[in-house]
């Protein structure tokens, strides 16, 4: 299965369900577009249809839809919020070296992040807890309770101890907490896993994906 995901990532393709979701049409209509040659597609040996992401982008451009363009990026969207510029530079330099399909945005304040997070729609939010002007704990709790970010994975990076975190009310349940100094090899593994998970999610039928969102 992992091989299929890697192949899909490398080939920049998606399944019929994901194409339907992005275009906002039914699976049958996507199949119709494929038959008419408006979308480039082919079938795997197992009989599953694979649609070229490039042709999906071209179709969206031609028909003037910008709303779904974000979903089309094959890259993992990551937002990193930390007022420690040294930490940000280490993450930035590492991400560049990894050559993983990641679109990373870096911000030094939670206020800035709150203004733009709706547009970025990150798959992964990496955030410090001690950030100026906004309580990082509150920032995470607010986002976690917001339906728009129900599928965003959180990763906390902090110089606080477990006791200090607990004393301030803790982080949302299930959020991994990484203490500074950060082990960038761990973050590399986390991001790789997220890329694979996102790719698998993309290929799920819309009804199943919706059940995750609820």
């Amino acid at each position: 299965m992992a091989l299929k995901v890697n192949d899909d990532l490398a080939a920049d393709v998606c399944g019929t369900f994901y194409a339907a979701k992005v275009l906002g049409i039914s699976v049958a209509t996507v199949q119709g577009l494929v038959e008419k040659g408006e979308l480039d597609a082919w079938k795997t040996k197992g009989g599953h249809r694979r649609i070229s992401m490039a042709s999906l982008r071209a179709y969206l451009t031609k028909h003037g839809s910008n709303d779904s363009a974000n979903l089309l990026s094959p890259n993992l969207r990551v937002l990193v919020v930390d007022d420690d510029e040294v930490a940000l530079e280490i993450i930035r330099s590492s991400v560049e070296k990894w050559s993983l399909p990641i679109d990373c945005t870096y911000m030094t304040s939670a206020i800035e992040a709150m203004l733009d997070i709706g547009k970025i729609k990150p798959d992964v939010l990496v955030s410090d807890l001690n950030i100026p002007k906004v309580d990082g704990f509150e920032f995470l709790r607010k986002l976690r309770s917001n339906h728009d970010f129900s599928s965003t994975a959180f990763l906390v990076i902090t110089g606080l101890t477990e006791e200090e975190i607990a004393a301030r009310g803790g982080v949302p349940e299930g959020t991994p907490v990484l203490h500074k100094p950060l082990d960038m090899r761990w973050i590399h593994g986390f991001m790789s896993a997220m890329i694979i998970a996102r790719s698998l999610y993309r290929d799920l039928p819309a009804t199943v994906r919706d059940s995750f969102a609820r």
Binding site: D83, D84, E85, V86, A87, L88, E89, I90, S93, S94, K97, D128, N130, P132, G159, K180, P181, L182, D183, M184, R185, H188
Partner: protein, 121 residues
């Protein structure tokens, strides 16, 4: 890159630790330049907090520097900063002043080390 050749006298920086955490020492020069560039503003922030005897602001500044130092591979210094941070939160600024001045001096020493590294890199 040979870390020990670039940094003959290491008091605070541990480039081997940095390499272990980041699996890549080649990113260190860029990180070192950022560290040097943020120090002046950090010092102003710290100075202002001390003048106003704003203990929370001193702690916030120390906390930020603790993170930077640990990420740079100066974990012993990060530990000493953490001790001052905790002492300040428990007591008052006056009683912790000698410890605070000591870590500020060490941060200055680390700055010199980073500059030596950059000059040789």
């Amino acid at each position: 890159m040979n870390a020990s050749a670039l940094l003959p006298k290491q008091q605070h920086l541990d480039l081997e630790r940095f390499q272990l955490l980041n699996a890549d020492l080649s990113i260190f020069p860029a990180v070192a330049r950022v560290f040097i560039s943020v120090l002046p503003d950090w010092r102003k922030e710290m100075q202002r907090a001390i003048v106003w005897t704003d203990v929370q602001a001193v702690c916030d500044s120390l906390h930020k520097m603790k993170g930077s130092c640990s990420m740079m591979g100066a974990e012993q210094l990060a530990l000493e900063i953490a001790q001052v941070e905790h002492a300040l939160l428990l007591g008052d600024l006056d009683r912790s002043t000698p410890q605070l001045l000591n870590v500020l001096r060490k941060i200055g020493d680390m700055e010199d080390e980073v500059k030596v590294f950059l000059a040789n890199a």
